[in-house]
Symmetry: C2
Subunit: 296 residues, 2 copies
């Protein structure tokens, strides 16, 4: 264990967050990516993939609760759920807090699952042992293309649109997701930083709109993610994700995944986009003009 001071991702638009770090607990190169586990001063342990922070123990709830509870509570009766990515197990744990009958997870990199279980076990909290859960180590894009199984909710819990996960933000993938949804099904994907990855954000939304009848971006706050403001997109052919349908969220209060971020009011509020995003402009247009990036 080495004292390493600060962790930061590369700056974007002259903006950078740093986390004080006590030590590096683990470093490993898998066939897919470099995996690092840090022990931070105040944010618990942090998982990095290729230098990009994926989750910390302290603020992961604001990410996982909004990725999972929004579609699972906007769907009237989600029984079968597919998770692509999400090897840390946080999404799986939150899905299993709902009365689902089956959750299939397809994660490409067994080393992410193994290291998360070893170093950040609270994230999954034993979820992989739940009899309703099945984990396949494999390519999620290919699995969705080839499977005959149909799901009520499909979640993409991946790295960002920039880089190795870019196939997960493409029109062909979204078409196969649409095919893999049961009637009335909902698809949600993490969608990066609308502040610091504005171009990728709009490209992902545009690709979704080519495939789905209804596409609703929504926001959460993850202090350790670049720019803090983080986005998801919910897509479907015929179902609004904009509010929870009933009081099922109350059952979460007594579950192993008691919400610390999600409330029904937060659910609804998360779809309220700032004026510039709503007008398909960058969140702070002048930021992108200053950087010489086309903003229209």
């Amino acid at each position: 264990m080495t004292e390493i001071g600060w962790f930061a991702e590369p700056p974007r638009f002259g903006f950078q967050q740093r986390l004080a770090v006590r030590s590096e607990l683990h470093r490993e190169r898998s066939p897919y990516q470099e995996i690092v586990v840090l022990d931070t001063e105040n944010w618990g342990r942090a998982l990095l993939l290729d230098g990009a922070l994926q989750t910390t123990e302290v603020d992961q709830a604001a990410y996982h609760e909004m990725l999972v509870h929004v579609p699972l509570l906007a769907h009237p009766r989600p029984e079968r759920v597919l998770i692509i990515g999400g090897g840390d197990g946080g999404s799986l744990r939150h899905v299993l807090a709902h009365p689902v009958s089956r959750v299939l997870q397809v994660e490409i990199d067994e080393a992410v699952v193994r290291n998360s279980q070893r170093w950040l076990p609270a994230l999954s909290g034993g979820a992989f042992d739940d009899p309703r859960a099945e984990l396949i180590i494999g390519d999620g894009v290919r699995h969705v293309q080839e499977t005959a199984e149909r799901f009520d909710v499909i979640l993409v819990d991946s790295t960002d649109p920039v880089g190795p996960a870019s196939d997960l933000f493409s029109v062909p993938f979204y078409r196969s997701v649409r095919e893999a949804l049961r009637p009335g099904g909902l698809f949600v994907t993490q969608c990066g930083s609308p502040l610091l990855m504005a171009d990728e954000w709009r490209e992902a939304i545009d690709a979704l709109r080519q495939v789905f009848a209804s596409v609703d971006p929504y926001l959460t706050l993850v202090p350790t993610y670049p720019g803090v403001i983080w986005s998801f997109a919910a897509a479907s052919m015929n179902r609004s994700p904009r509010m929870p349908l009933d009081d099922r969220w109350r059952t979460l209060l007594a579950s192993a995944a008691t919400p610390s971020y999600y409330t029904p009011e937060v659910h609804r509020a998360s779809f309220a986009l700032p004026a510039s995003l709503l007008a398909d402009r960058p969140l702070f247009p002048a930021l992108h003009e200053a950087a010489g990036v086309a903003s229209s």
Copy 2:
């Protein structure tokens, strides 16, 4: 002008944001504080008071629009408005975009007004020359105590609860604000970072609740403020600030202060507090436990 690389406030909870800076344009010590103007790489010019970033040209809208438009559109007919602080003129400009008859501003430090006019003139956009506006250089706490004038909306646009502005977050001050409001009046104060200044945040809310019948914290996103998630509190004896009353916001679209952040949906959504804040706990309780700070 010196090339200075990065600007950062001191870290809090092992968390720090940095802005790339081209040069320091100005530095001056007033009787109240040290005033610095930076030219940042991507965020326009930035105003610092005693090392704390007050505003940047690029993301100021998310702060000023939410401080101003929320109370002015939740009040049915705001005619007389008082601003305490706000020497950069951004709040004044946004208030004057509404059909108010008088705006009194009391700023303690003439050097903030002078330097903002010189270095960040777009923030006020000539607002100080508007015949409806009056600027008094003086102590806002004392002014509110002593004035016989009554206002429909009172705004505090100050530095944070930690430090020289702490009188602006005290029960005696809030009592005099209550007296200075017309019937049905609304008070809004900026309230710091609920993430990184959680103790001060709860103390300010508690103090307001000792004085006002209705206290509603609400949130905005200011990337260059510590922690990004920023808060206001709206207080009144008998008026809900939780939604705009009518279509007056449309008049802003054609004003000199066209919203880039505010929408009526954002207005309503901003009052949706994450579950832990709603339960009067820190936003991420484990953060404060890790730091050895009492979280209850």
